[in-house]
Symmetry: C2
Subunit: 202 residues, 2 copies
């Protein structure tokens, strides 16, 4: 059953109006399914529209190009714009543990994990999408953390944190290395939290 | 110019004989090019044979299936079977630094880096190849490190090391996060070595 939704005129991206959000969410969910099954190269805007039950024009209307849509999809599993200010506003002493715990607890949610794995795979697997992920990380995470640190080597410290955090997400949820996949969140926080703390402040 | 090489009978994989090694090396180089350009799904044994200038039968003869060939290609950039015993035989006090330095100095070689990036992309990008990389890491690296540690949680410690090391390789060479891509090997060894040391022994 294909449902066509008439595009609202002159609005691309930005916050959805009431009534739009359902179609946007269906398109985003369809995009993540399609990127996951077909990879970035194989995914088409037409197939995404078909999965979402909307006209392809509406996908372009809301999200622009395929690269734009992928770039927006990367935000979905992490939403650092929401969490990061709160994490950075907390006490320094356990900042490393809080960062690791927040990420793992978020990714333990099955829906977030599924999307996150799909997007990590697609972003790392393809030389066209890797810069989209790198740009997202730099813009939304690393520069914010670096600014909050207020030290000269803040960008390097933030990038080291990103390397460890990305490594844990990949090892536990993508590669599923048995010892890490089976460890509890508390266990990983206890081992990896001090690493992140040291990269930030030592 | 296509050169055909007659397959030697009844020999699949294993050490090459004199005269075989050139064709094997050409096939492996061709496979890495093809996986890099077409991805794992898009790569065909026929295209790999064509790049190498050999008959497709020879590719199957030496390497088996496409998955077998990919699994063998993963070994090429790291060769932990060669380096690991030497690293593990050294003193404990700077084991973490030695592991990080060895990996970075290896990947700083342009040819190793290019192959490594191609294979990391292909392995993480595809759900069929991820288990091949995970299996390789578990078998060739993690279990060896875990055995050498002689502690109950050796497998978890080794997996944490793998998460940080993989994270650095991805952040520096695949994502190319600017601060990490521009840092010197010495700088990264100084920051990341103590992390690996702590995961191994603290």
């Amino acid at each position: 059953m294909v449902e066509y939704v008439v595009p609202a005129p002159k609005r691309r991206r930005g916050r959805p109006r009431a009534g739009e959000s359902d179609a946007r969410e269906r398109i985003m969910a369809a995009a993540i399914e399609e990127f996951g099954e077909a990879g970035y190269d194989g995914a088409t805007m037409r197939a995404i529209a078909s999965r979402a039950g909307v006209d392809p024009a509406l996908v372009h209307h809301y999200f622009g190009t395929k690269a734009d849509l992928f770039g927006e999809a990367i935000h979905a599993p992490l939403r650092p714009d929401l969490a990061l200010p709160e994490i950075l506003a907390g006490p320094r002493d356990d900042m490393g543990e809080r960062i690791v715990r927040y990420l793992l607890e978020t990714w333990e949610q099955p829906d977030v994990r599924r999307r996150g794995v799909v997007l990590l795979r697609a972003a790392i697997g393809n030389r066209l999408t890797t810069p989209l992920l790198a740009g997202f990380l730099s813009r939304e995470l690393l520069s914010r953390i670096a600014r909050a640190l207020e030290v000269e080597d803040g960008e390097l410290r933030a990038s080291l944190v990103a390397s460890q955090v990305a490594g844990i997400l990949i090892a536990r949820y993508v590669l599923r290395l048995p010892a890490l996949a089976e460890a509890s969140v508390d266990e990983i926080v206890a081992r990896v939290g001090p690493t992140v703390q040291r990269y930030l402040y030592d």
